[in-house]
Amino acid sequence: MGLETKAGDLGVVTTSLEYVVNWGRTNAMWPLLFGLACCAIEMMGAQSPNYDMSRFGMEINRASPRQADLMIVAGRVSRKMAPVVRRLYDQMSEPKWVVAMGDCASCGGIFNNYAIVQGVDEIVPVDVYVAGCPPRPEALIDGIMMLHEKVKREKISGIKEQPLRLEQPLIQQVDVKKYG
């Protein structure tokens, strides 16, 4: 009664521990259940059957930060809410990631005033920013898959990688003669 009998004819797969751990983490992420403003409606939409975020291993949100490892900051964070968001982040168990969903969470968006934190990266370290006001559910799912790619590159030592820098502008000069 060993591994051979259990595995049957599946054969043997060799891989690195790092890969297996990261694969497990990406396919079983637990988002924290909270929404702060209008973006939260789109986040709920992304989890609904129409868009079905559970295809990527995120069936339900956890209402307790102890059981969650992904924080989706969906909405604008007011200065009064900022300590609460930070405390929730601190209560989440390692390893943990943050997605800033929408313009307000990323940079303050249309609320450039005294009441709103100008970008949630002032209070929690953000891994992925999703642009849009509000981002469509597809955009949120795209952001989360981008996060999955990032998690797959993580080292077993727990060190997160540095932010990616754009080497060239996103919009390329179109060669008019060529495509004219």
């Binding site: 200065r79 009064k80 940079c107 005033n113 005294y114 009441a115 990266d121 002032e122 929690v124 370290p125």
Partner: protein, 172 residues
Amino acid sequence: MDNQTIRDRLQAQFPQAILAVSERFGDLSVTLRREDLLAVVTWLRDHPEVPYDFLEHLSGVDYLGRTPRFEVVIHLMSLRYLHRICLKVTAPEDDPHVPSLTPLYPTANYQERETWDLLGIVFDGHPSLQRILMPDDWIGHPQRKDHPLGEEEVAFTFNQERIYAQKPFAKE
């Protein structure tokens, strides 16, 4: 119950307290002297025929550049007759004090706190006038027209190096 009756009764009862009366779109609004606010509201609340038993709404207005600068607007409603009356009291900038209605209507508590928090109008007699919407350590009253909006410079590719050098990014 119509506006004219209420108006006549108020005029007869408090001739000195009423500074102005106006009627617009069927709504009666009365500007009162600050000192008489409590007496008038008590009388309205306990009136045997038309008791205004519901404080619908209380808020403040900042008329910057006008004297007196601040105004507190109160809407009372009589649930029995479905009649509404709007009371206004003004307060000058250097003495923004208005008597509190919390002893008469407990629901005024949070609305007065909000008005104090955002406009800095002090309600005398309020049980605990603390901030309710802004953080406790906030300085100033942000809905005053002369309060700075607090915009920050928006980062684009041409200026992001300079802005991000000062921005307080969070630690892990």
